[in-house]
């Protein structure tokens, strides 16, 4: 193989990844495709979380809040008001980005543990409010079902979900390669020094929040039109939050490939455990694995593998 620059090597790997994933429906069963679809959506959510938290160090415990805003907006618009999805999804994304600014307010003054707590409070607040305020619109505790789906059948949905994930991944990857991406990572390492280099960290953080919210809203909106239903307890749930964070962390925070790998790994692990441990007990194994991995190497599987390789060399 001729020598390629790291950039072209990465492009080649992305293309290879896309080719393999697009060829996969030819060989795998419908069930496996469904598992992949779940993994793709989880990857989108994990990338959204990681773009904000993995990079800038502002740990969000409220991503389900953002995803939920996107999902509920398009669900209500299309189901209750017959707005076509071509309009309701973009509106949902914009609304989620606006909600992202709500998130951003506390980040102006606090960081670290307290920031995570406010976002957690946002999520719980949303969970309670959705059930009480205008249940005629939100469907209250039971949520809404019978929402318009975009595609029928596992195969068509597989292609749609993969394309969405791939576009998000490549876009975020390109973003991280710019100097904005570099500045955001620098904020995660030492925010004061970024300000001390003459950069407006507030504006940079706002940008990261907007991008993260945009991806979360997009993912949430498409997800609800894939599932065809929405319920508050499935969305604004600590287990859901946990799955997103663990997917991002287990693969390696601060990377784009990490959340994708983590999402695929976790979704298939959960699927494999289903016959052995039906029900919520799977979280025990899954959480246990995640916890041990996290304590051994908080930077994720990628760093763990690199570290092992480094030690052997």
């Amino acid at each position: 193989m001729s020598r390629l620059s790291p950039f072209w090597r990465a492009v080649l790997l992305w293309a290879l990844f896309a080719a393999v994933m697009l060829a996969l429906p030819e060989v795998v069963s419908r069930g496996t495709m469904r598992t992949f679809i779940a993994a793709f959506f989880l990857a989108i959510f994990a990338m959204s979380w990681d773009f904000l938290s993995g990079r800038t160090g502002y740990i969000s415990f409220g991503h389900p809040f953002l995803i939920g805003i996107g999902a509920y907006t398009t669900a209500i618009l299309s189901y209750r008001f017959d707005v076509p999805v071509t309009l309701s999804i973009p509106v949902a994304v914009v609304v989620t980005m606006l909600a992202g600014t709500l998130f951003f307010l506390p980040a102006l003054r606090i960081r670290g543990t307290y920031f995570a707590l406010v976002t957690l409070a946002f999520m719980e607040l949303m969970y309670q409010l959705v059930q009480v305020i205008r249940p005629d619109l939100t469907g209250g505790t039971r949520g809404i079902s019978g929402i318009e789906t975009l595609r029928r059948g596992a195969e068509a949905n597989y292609y749609l979900a993969f394309t969405l994930m791939f576009v998000v991944a490549v876009t975020l990857w390109s973003l991280t390669r710019t100097r904005i991406g570099m500045a955001l990572s620098a904020i995660g390492m030492n925010e004061a020094a970024v300000a001390g280099s003459g950069l407006d960290t507030t504006r940079l953080k706002l940008f990261a929040f907007m991008v993260s919210a945009c991806v979360a809203g997009l993912g949430g909106a498409f997800y609800v039109h894939y599932l065809g239903s929405i319920a508050p307890r499935a969305l604004f749930d600590i287990n859901f939050l946990f799955t997103i964070i663990v997917a991002a962390l287990i693969g390696g925070a601060g990377t784009i490939t990490g959340p994708i790998a983590g999402a695929l790994f976790l979704t298939f692990l959960l699927e494999e455990l289903r016959p052995v441990l039906p029900g919520a007990e799977r979280y025990l194994v899954y959480g246990g694995v995640a916890l041990v991995l996290y304590i051994v190497q908080p930077k994720g599987l990628q760093a763990l593998v690199m570290g092992l390789r480094g030690r052997r060399a």
């Binding site: 670290g112 406010v118 600590i238 029900g279």
Partner: protein, 283 residues
């Protein structure tokens, strides 16, 4: 009105008990233990198992549950917090994962349906048109006694004063011959024990379920955020603010909205006064 006053006072006492173990860890160890709610759950389920399933006397069940809570606290400190070298954000994430693991373990052992715990002290008391269960009354009295005992422990005993010293200045305490690791371990044990006892009373007031850890955790978080750190008195005051807010909301507006104001309180205080109402130096 009397109903609100009495219910508010009782609920607040229970909340103070729930929150105090959480603030203790935050003040001494400087980490937010998001698996704190798991102590409550473990304590409550252990008590339920020993007393209601195995038929042990209540006192034994309680002592065993508290012991398990304390042991859980020590294990958490040794296996998680110390491994992560006190990195606040890492501990926060790890304890959140742990909480989900414990929840799954509870489902595995006890299945995921809610369970009703018999009141620890049965019977009701009617006073001025309001009815008060002896159970919540006992919980409140117990929490006052425990809080008083804790206050005496922290201010009067050698171990308690060492805890105070570490919470003020870890390095300074180490120089004066206090072993911060040991103090931390003791604090985690106490926090676990307090969580377990709080969980028993909380479960007897509501019910047992694998998701029962979230609500109390949010209350404990609110107490730390709003009250500032390290002050048992601050925890008491904020627990009363939250308790009365909940009771007022439930009685006058709607029961479903009872938690909304707690969440709003956390959000508003952190945005408007990030140092908390009662002062806190670092963020």
């Amino acid at each position: 009105m009397t109903q609100i006053l009495i219910q508010g006072l009782l609920l607040s006492g229970l909340y103070a008990l729930i929150a105090v173990g959480f603030t203790l860890i935050f003040s001494v160890g400087r980490v937010l233990n998001l698996a704190y709610g798991a102590y409550l759950m473990v304590g409550a389920y252990a008590y339920f198992h020993f007393v209601q399933t195995m038929g042990m006397p209540q006192a034994y069940g309680m002592v065993l549950a508290v012991g398990i809570g304390a042991l859980f606290g020590i294990l958490k400190y040794r296996l998680i917090v110390r491994q992560l070298h006190g990195d606040q954000v890492a501990v926060e994430i790890a304890t959140l994962i742990l909480a989900v693991v414990v929840q799954a373990a509870i489902v595995l052992v006890f299945n995921d349906s809610a369970k009703i715990m018999h009141p620890i002290v049965p019977g009701v008391w009617r006073v001025g048109g309001a009815t008060v269960t002896y159970n919540i009354l006992a919980a409140t009295i117990a929490s006052w006694v425990i809080l008083g005992g804790l206050w005496l422990f922290v201010t009067r005993t050698h171990a308690g004063r060492a805890m105070q010293a570490v919470s003020m200045d870890v390095k300074g305490a180490a120089i004066s011959g206090i072993d911060p690791g040991r103090v931390n371990q003791i604090t985690w044990a106490i926090s676990g024990a307090l969580g377990a006892i709080g969980g028993i009373f909380f479960a007897s007031y509501t019910q047992l379920s694998p998701g029962m850890w979230v609500g109390p955790l949010i209350i404990a978080v609110a107490v730390v955020v709003v009250g500032g750190i390290g002050s048992i008195l601050g925890a008491l005051v904020v627990a009363h603010i939250i308790g009365f807010m909940e009771v007022t909301t439930t009685t006058l507006i709607a029961a479903e909205l009872r938690g909304v104001f707690t969440m709003l309180l956390i959000i508003v205080v952190l945005i408007v006064a990030p140092k908390g109402l009662f002062g806190r130096e670092e963020l």
